[in-house]
């Protein structure tokens, strides 16, 4: 979230699209209800299903899954055609006037530089024209034919209300009502909050779904404002934290990146990470990359990382492919190229697409380790559970370890929520049986491997035996010891910005004190400030909220630098005065920035200096057009899902998203609309959390049995009765469930053709206390978003028919 949960109360319009907060984030959704009740906010819900969020909406507009970009591009076109944009904001705070290089084109659905063999682009023309002064050329009048504003207008010209309706199946009048309501927030004192979740990310163009709304929000001047922003409602309690701390193949904590093998040395690596400002005087905060990187290397390898050895640059692995994400990991396993998998609190057999492929991949590995507080299906992929897991254990040669772990009530530590708050929690009970914390298990494994290397030697042992390990008890580091490393500390005396000397061995106050000369260590720069010399700021419990702004600045710690609303400089006009007194966050008092939040800006940088509010960006402004930063294009474009009931109307030659990632064998596993005519989607129910709560008695009673949800019309066509058993199948697999025949799903009229939606909730398996069932991953295709490799779980094709119950099930 750019903002925070309580901040939603300030919104005048709230759009929930790509999510269902009322059911998936109920206590956060209460702030939407608060905004409706006390701020007269209008709630817009755009969703293929009439969800419980939709049930309290002022405007509900149906949409076919996988067509959000067409819808939102249509909204952006409406704003521009009808002149409902916040002009000063767009002119001063966006790249609308930036002139794009010659050679950049967009024709028949493809940007310049496409290579169909590689399914990838040469992005060299996707950049600004650079002037003789070395900076990007800007036309403040926005009239230059190659400036971003003109290119945007051209790019979205096709998304007329008629076209939106043909593609999305949204009735034109509803679509226009949505446009009109969103447009009302173009005025400086009105804001819209955009709430989204996996309904936007689970697509082959998920990142571009989000980009589409970023464009709308930037045109309206809603970023950095109270009650505005882009609110990513993360799915799990600490998936924000896992991402911040960089548990991905290509990340170093704090959104730094693992080198590729084309960056053979530190100089080369840093050369590509200079982040020089693209406009005069801009902050371009990533210029500090070297300080964060060197401090990370020092946190890892201490005195073994020196200037002379390029801060132990060779200790880091180098990538030969963009990422080794899970989809690639299990593709390699299926090909017999993986020896083992170590799985922490994760149930991939019931989470990743194409379960048959997952099961095959698991059975090909020599060993699988599962660390979990619950008995998962993954740990039992080799066990026969009849129709629900029809395998032959004797033929599976995998060694499997199930290691019992503690859960939240039995440990202390911090979790990062959607608002970027790091909140500390405390232990309330002893773990049952022999459960151990994940920290103790990982430390136990590591210390064993390290001593094997010390005893026996082996492949490149240095980074292992030299890893910083200053814990009082080597096999069981404490959460506090680890939190102190995340915050960062001095290794030699340093000078802070005020000139004061901080001695060696002290916790730093924040990332502004980090150095690139080896005098500081910091595991995750964005978390710096979480455990200072003053103590554990994540454990703070002062809920005082000055001005009733919904900020509560002394509750826990928010990254970065305890800032609660990102880009908050943009809440003021270029002169430093709040756009709206009612929505005041910070302001310039003649000497410095003051207010309710930590300024996202140089604290004494005067407005007349002309520094842009988006200080992380080299441009200093928000991007309507993203240069070469996205793999699949600088503007979002409508592409159909890889399995779609329709052809791409504006670009009929293009199937799927041109740069999305799909492996060859998975391409062969795609079905067609002739064979599989219905548009399927997956989702959560409010009574369950993924596959965890099927192990909790009350939840297992509340929603005991798997079902699929279909319209009355489809039920009638197929002879399916309420509560009857149905079989749903795709090119990749089949499942059985009971039918819920509902008015919440209705056929969508797309280009004159009725499209039927089949909804498949995702909470059942063959372990736990519910009745046994299947997860939609038995059916879903292995397709990854071009930028994030997120699987396309929200839009694929199935067929459906009435069937007999599975063996042992009650009819």
């Amino acid at each position: 979230m750019t903002n925070l949960w309580m901040d939603i109360k300030h919104a005048d319009v709230i759009t929930v699209m790509g999510g269902n907060a009322a059911e998936a984030h109920p206590c956060g959704f209460k702030w939407v209800v608060e905004a409706k009740a006390h701020n007269k906010a209008k709630l817009i819900v755009v969703d293929p299903r009439f969800t419980r969020t939709a049930s309290v909406a002022d405007i509900y507009c149906p949409i076919r899954q996988g067509t959000d970009i067409a819808f939102l591009s249509g909204v952006a076109k409406y704003l521009l055609d009808n002149d409902h944009i916040q002009h000063r904001y767009v002119a001063a705070y966006s790249n609308a006037g930036f002139v794009v290089k010659e050679g950049y084109t967009f024709e028949e659905g493809l940007f310049a530089g496409y290579d169909p063999e590689k399914r990838d682009y040469d992005k060299s023309t996707w950049d600004y024209e650079i002037g003789p002064d070395g900076y990007a050329v800007v036309d403040p009048t926005m009239q230059h034919p190659r400036c971003v504003m003109q290119l945007l207008k051209q790019h979205i010209a096709i998304y007329t209300p008629e076209m939106v309706s043909r593609i999305c199946g949204s009735p034109q009048d509803k679509f226009l009502e949505v446009c009109k309501t969103i447009a009302s927030t173009a005025s400086p004192d009105r804001t819209m909050a955009s709430l989204y979740a996996l309904g936007w990310t689970h697509h082959s163009k998920g990142s571009q779904n989000i980009r589409s709304m970023c464009i709308v929000q930037t045109l309206l001047g809603n970023i950095g404002m109270l009650g505005g922003g882009m609110q990513a409602l993360r799915g799990h309690s600490n998936i924000q934290g896992l991402t911040d701390v960089g548990l991905m193949s290509n990340l170093i904590p704090g959104y730094l990146s693992i080198p590729t093998e084309k960056e053979p040395d530190f100089t080369n690596y840093m050369g590509k990470r200079q982040f020089k400002p693209l406009r005069p005087g801009q902050t371009s905060y990533w210029q500090n990359y070297g300080k964060f990187f060197v401090s990370f290397q020092k946190a890892m390898w201490g005195e073994k990382a020196t200037k002379d050895n390029d801060w132990a640059y060779d200790y880091l692995p180098k990538l030969d492919v963009p990422t080794y994400d899970v989809l690639r990991g299990f593709e390699l396993a299926k090909q017999g190229k993986m020896t083992g998998y170590v799985i922490q609190g994760f149930n991939p057999l019931m989470s990743f697409p194409n379960r048959a492929k997952m099961a095959d991949a698991f059975a090909k590995m020599k060993f699988v380790v599962v660390m979990d507080p619950l008995q998962t299906e993954t740990a039992r992929f080799w066990e026969n559970h009849g129709e629900y897991n029809d395998v032959d254990p004797a033929s599976i040669q995998t060694e499997v370890f199930e290691l019992p772990t503690t859960l939240f009530a039995e440990e202390e530590g911090s979790l990062s929520n959607s608002s970027r708050w790091l909140q500390w929690h405390w232990q309330a009970q002893e773990p049952p049986g022999e459960c151990r914390s994940d920290i103790e298990i990982m430390a136990g494994l590591f210390t064993r491997i390290k001593s094997l290397y010390q005893k026996e030697g082996g492949a490149f042992a240095e980074p292992i035996v030299n890893l910083t390990w200053n814990y009082a008890t080597a096999h069981s580091p404490t959460p506090i010891e680890l939190a102190r490393e995340l915050n960062g500390y001095t290794l030699a005396p340093i000078q802070d910005s005020a000139g004061a000397t901080i001695p060696a061995g002290k916790q730093v106050d924040g990332f502004a004190q980090l150095k690139d000369d080896g005098s500081t260590a910091c595991a995750c720069w964005v978390y710096s400030g979480c455990y200072t010399e003053k103590g554990n700021t994540m454990a703070r419990r002062d809920n005082t909220d000055p001005g009733d702004k919904g900020i509560a600045p002394n509750w826990a710690f928010a990254w970065p630098a305890n800032r609660r609303v990102l880009y908050n400089r943009a809440s003021c006009d270029p002169e430093g005065k709040p756009w709206s007194e009612k929505k005041k966050l910070i302001e310039w008092n003649g000497k410095q920035w003051v207010g309710f939040d930590v300024p996202d800006f140089g604290p004494t940088s005067a407005p007349e200096a002309g520094v842009g509010p988006f200080i992380l960006n080299q441009e200093g402004v928000a991007r309507l057009w993203t240069r070469g930063l996205m793999r699949d294009g600088p503007f979002p474009t409508h592409y159909e899902p890889f399995e779609s009931p329709m052809a791409n109307i504006p670009f009929p030659k293009i199937k799927g998203a041109p740069a999305a990632r799909i492996f060859k064998s998975d391409l062969a596993d795609l079905g067609t609309a002739e064979e599989f005519p219905y548009a399927a989607t997956s989702y959560r129910l409010t009574e369950h959390f993924h596959q965890w709560t099927k192990h909790a008695r009350i939840n297992a009673m509340l929603q005991p049995e798997a079902f699929v949800e279909i319209s009355e019309q489809l039920a009638q066509e197929k002879g399916i009765v309420k509560g009857g058993w149905v079989r749903v199948w795709s090119k990749r697999g089949s499942l059985k469930a009971k039918a819920v025949v509902t008015k919440r799903i209705k056929p969508l009229m797309c280009d004159g053709k009725a499209v039927h939606v089949v909804g498949i909730p995702q909470h059942w398996g063959f372990m736990g206390l519910t009745k046994k069932g299947w997860h939609p991953n038995s059916l879903t295709p292995v397709v990854g978003d071009a930028n994030t490799e997120t699987p396309e779980f929200k839009a694929w094709l199935v067929n459906i028919e009435p069937t007999t119950p599975p063996a042992g099930a009650v009819a």
């Binding site: 309580m6 984030h25 206590c27 209460k30 990310t201 799915g235 799990h236 309690s237 998936i239 911040d244 960089g246 548990l247 904590p253 692995p317 030969d320 080794y324 994400d325 990991g329 993986m338 020896t339 083992g340 998998y341 170590v342 922490q344 994760f346 060993f367 619950l374 080799w382 254990p393 040669q397 199930e402 290691l403 019992p404 009530a409 959607s418 708050w421 405390w426 309330a428 002893e430 049986g433 022999e434 994940d438 920290i439 990982m442 590591f446 491997i449 094997l452 082996g458 490149f460 292992i464 680890l482 595991a523 454990a539 809920n543 959390f689 192990h695 909790a696 939840n699 206390l769 779980f793």
Partner: protein, 198 residues
């Protein structure tokens, strides 16, 4: 451990104050002790309170865990009740259908309790010791790393290990995440991911 004011303790204190103070002032005299004795003590008042956050979605509602056991020797603490934390600025004491039933998650009968091992080709898990499990996994990992570690690709130093994969958990703490990150990365592992996509 920080000092936490017990909400139930506070209520209990207020109740005692009522019996000994204002009612006396109203002239009920000898009735007071009888009255006080007839009030059944509130069970939760005997419990220890611990501040925690809900482990499910990313709203991260504040919760209060009530547990038996006062930390004295041989007293095993056990969570007996969970409720929303009214001091928490986001949920202000409320919980959803998932958070309200957290007790059943903590006490689930299908929790893992002991390390288990399934040998190749067999059809059941067998209980094993932690030492057996960790020694064996360490051996398997080291043997594979020594065999498949890629130090060079042509002239390029690449120092990567891509034949054992790691998946991080979405409900573990940031501190666990860092412990996992540093140990996994120190081995040069690249097949490394988390639940951000599902």
């Amino acid at each position: 451990m920080n000092v936490q004011v017990s909400r139930r303790g506070l209520l209990k204190g207020l109740g005692a104050g009522l019996a000994g103070g204002s009612m006396g002032a109203l002239g009920f005299g000898a009735l007071e002790p009888a009255m006080a004795a007839s009030v059944r003590p509130y069970k939760l008042a005997q419990m220890r309170e611990t501040r925690n956050t809900c482990p499910y979605c990313s709203v991260a509602c504040g919760i209060i865990l009530y547990s038996l056991g006062d930390r004295s020797k041989n007293a095993r603490s056990a969570v007996m009740h969970v409720e929303g934390d009214p001091d928490h600025p986001v949920n202000r004491g409320t919980l959803c259908p998932k958070g309200s039933s957290l007790l059943d998650f903590v006490q689930s009968e299908t929790r893992t309790k002991y390390p288990q091992y399934r040998a190749p080709g067999t059809s059941e898990f067998k209980r094993v010791s932690w030492d057996f499990a960790l020694d064996r996994i360490a051996r398997l990992m080291k043997d594979d790393r020594d065999k498949n570690f890629i130090a060079k690709n042509g002239d390029l130093t690449v120092n990567r290990w891509t034949s054992v994969g790691f998946l991080g958990a979405s409900a573990t703490t940031n501190e666990t995440a860092w412990m996992t990150y540093k140990t996994v990365r120190s081995m040069g592992a690249l097949v490394f991911d988390n639940q951000a996509r599902v």
